[in-house]
Symmetry: C2
Subunit: 452 residues, 2 copies
């Protein structure tokens, strides 16, 4: 028969078993962490009506969308988890309690140009808090504190959540009479690290037509650095000149104060006035998260405050704040950098039972009893040579093997072999349970990233 070459599409991540277990462990740590903060899980369809998904219309994203027809229906695959959330909240407004706190971990689709580390199908893990009419600024501090706890639980250490407030930026540009040019200026300022202050100044004055004074003021503003207290204190010198700026500064100050109360160490969050997330719909607090040893990766977790989640669907004013982790990319980077914790037990079972008898009934009973104790058991039933069976155990990477022959059955014992140490002993099934469980407990809380 002619064969079709089995392949997976470019830009679609598919993992071998050990890596898949590590990926799943990452997801389960994130889910557990989000749950501890009282978020409800949500699962929405991968496919939505195009008119719903693209209600906002236009923009960069639309070109990347997987859009197609089926029968009479114009359908699209979701490209993020925020638009489906907006639809869900608008649809189910009457049934939800506000603030509505939801997390969602799921795949999204963007037809990006294929290149290494760029994915067309990738997981996002989002949390959002949606208010009805208004939403306290406290939430803007809680959201990054959750990311701090979550990344720490994953084993990440050298990361930094960077916080800014667009009211501070927009207020500042308004003071300088530059509201119209704010977008162009932010894009220019974004290049500061790459091209340096002199070139930025030249673009501002020569290309964008700012006065020397305006350019000077901008450069002074974005070069504000230091501890969070120092940055906030510097910003105070602009207070009283524009109401929006003052409001933004109050918000930023509140966020910094609450983040400290959440126990987030200052080296893990930093007020950074260069962060704008200009193309997004954020209106207040904005976040990005850098891996300090890998600035080239860009932000692995971004978000912010928005005034109106669902304006395309409803007249209700639904302000919110949220953040999104790009899981597939984060995992790819951890793997690529050799950071994955290879001490994690990635075997599909904790113990492999090798029956050495003809009938399997005693082995089945043993397996059932171990499973009742929560131990993951595979019973090997193929007719193979002993050497092949042991090679299978090795290939799976199971931590333990149990041999069950006539001798063991007669004595009501099992032969338990620790595959790491090679040690083998004849013990009771109950003692085997205790032994295996102890090893698993010790490994149970392993993060997915090596501690360095």
């Amino acid at each position: 028969m002619a064969k079709v070459r089995p392949h997976t599409l470019s830009g679609f991540m598919e993992l071998l078993p050990a890596r898949q277990i590590q990926f799943d462990r990452m997801i389960s740590i994130i889910r557990e962490s989000f749950s501890l903060y009282g978020f409800t899980p949500l699962d929405t369809p991968l496919i939505e009506a195009s008119e719903v998904l693209l209600a906002k219309g236009g923009g960069e994203t639309e070109k990347q969308i997987y859009r197609f027809t089926k029968g009479d229906s114009d359908l699209s695959l979701r490209f993020d988890l925020t638009v489906p959330l907006a639809k869900y909240v608008a649809m189910n407004y009457a049934h939800l309690a506000f603030p509505f706190r939801r997390f969602q971990i799921g795949k999204v689709y963007r037809g990006e140009r294929a290149q290494r580390g760029r994915f067309r199908e990738f997981y996002q893990a989002d949390i959002d808090v949606i208010g009805d009419g208004r939403l306290d600024i406290f939430n803007d501090a809680e959201v990054p504190s959750i990311i701090y706890r979550t990344f720490t639980a994953l084993g990440l250490e050298r990361f930094q959540i960077r916080v800014n407030n667009r009211k501070v930026l927009n207020g500042f540009y308004a003071m300088e009479d530059l509201t119209d040019k704010a977008g162009d200026i932010m894009r220019t300022v974004d290049k500061l690290e790459k091209i340096g202050g002199e070139k930025v100044r030249a673009i501002l004055t020569d290309d964008l037509g700012l006065t020397g004074g305006q350019a000077e003021s901008i450069l002074r503003f974005i070069s504000i650095q230091g501890s969070n207290a120092q940055v906030l204190s510097s910003l105070e010198s602009w207070r009283g000149r524009h109401a929006l700026f003052d409001q933004g500064l109050d918000e930023l100050t509140a966020v910094v104060k609450d983040l400290a109360a959440f126990g987030v160490p200052e080296d893990h969050f930093k007020v950074d006035l260069t962060i704008a997330r200009g193309l997004d719909y954020y209106t207040g607090t904005v976040y990005e998260t850098a891996m300090l040893d890998h600035p080239e990766i860009g932000s692995i977790c971004s978000g912010g405050r928005y005034d109106n989640l669902a304006e395309y669907y409803t007249d209700k004013q639904l302000p919110g704040v949220g953040i999104s982790i790009g899981l597939t990319r984060l995992f790819f980077v951890l793997e690529d950098q050799g950071y994955l914790n290879d001490d994690l037990n990635t075997a599909p079972a904790d113990v492999l039972i090798l029956p050495m008898t003809d009938g399997l009934s005693p082995a089945i009973q043993l397996a059932t009893s171990l499973r009742t104790s929560g131990i993951r058991v595979q019973l090997y039933s193929e007719q193979k040579k002993f050497k092949q069976k042991m090679s299978y155990a090795d290939k799976l990477g199971v931590p333990y093997v149990i041999f069950l022959g006539e001798d063991e059955i007669e004595q009501d014992m099992v032969s338990l072999k620790n595959m790491r140490t090679g040690e083998q002993e004849l013990i009771s099934a109950a003692d085997a349970v205790t032994k295996i469980a102890a090893t698993l407990d010790a490994a149970g809380d392993a993060p997915i990233r090596d501690k360095v």
Copy 2:
């Protein structure tokens, strides 16, 4: 602004928060159950190249497929989890240990005609065991025993796994010289319950041209009933007349014996000679699972043994056995019948902290300390009247509320209110943890279906 009507596509399940938590609980019970048997989790893309997904070609399924182009690529959404498994195993053959045991829980897509209880996007939960060259018959018993344990863990009681073997059927038809007509005969026999024996006989002789003796023999064969031992014993009377039949009977006998060793009670599995799964690619053991009180639902979990998983992609002989639960449909039926366990805690948090002070720092510290003990905490931070806050707690359905005011903080205590009993007490944070944890432990193993 003109609004777009927010809606979810017909045939796509989207749940309100409490139901979503019940659905997630169902998935987590299934995942845990599958894991105990040493299956490795797999996650494959939702989208595959059409040439890969449709390598088998033709058939009923193809019309239902979501197929589209993006750029130059002809793409399709997966319609089951078996074809992606075949691709995966063929692609990664050299990296896998055989028998390869995987489970996968994920969404699949079929453009079915929209009607109540029919879904176009639905979850399947599959387990498969794939051998390299051969695979022991033991696996054919283990697979339904896992379904028995899983359904029991979900709280289901009145279900029955029905087992047959296509070699028995095909061997029998070969004895009767009816191999060519086996398909038509099986479709006719399938109507036995609906139209009765006399009409079946009439179709067999008049429409299909069987002799009276052949029809008689078929009717006698499919009317074999009784305990599993009785059915097997009746089948023994055909032994020795056809090699395939004898092999099938040996397999069926082995499966029944091992299922008993697995502790599956006989009322939960039954040899049923009318089961054929004719349109599928099964070659030996076949399974269906009936909800005894709702025969109209049809099988909620089906599968069987196949000789060659990946013949469209590789020359390797990869026999396997697997089974698939239709999760979305199962959940729909449980909900529809009022079977969902509404005692399950479906609140997004175990406790809601209501700070009664201006500053939130003490409440944040309390929340952090409770979370460290694994308790899911939401800190309520909105400026609302007390009555609105309590109404929010009610709407969420949280089991506990903690009030934290100046008095409590001064005494280093919290006011803990049990929302079910209404009881409120002033206790230490540590005692609150103990109290809340005790309630959660008691509810922790709740099945998703009410016991009846």
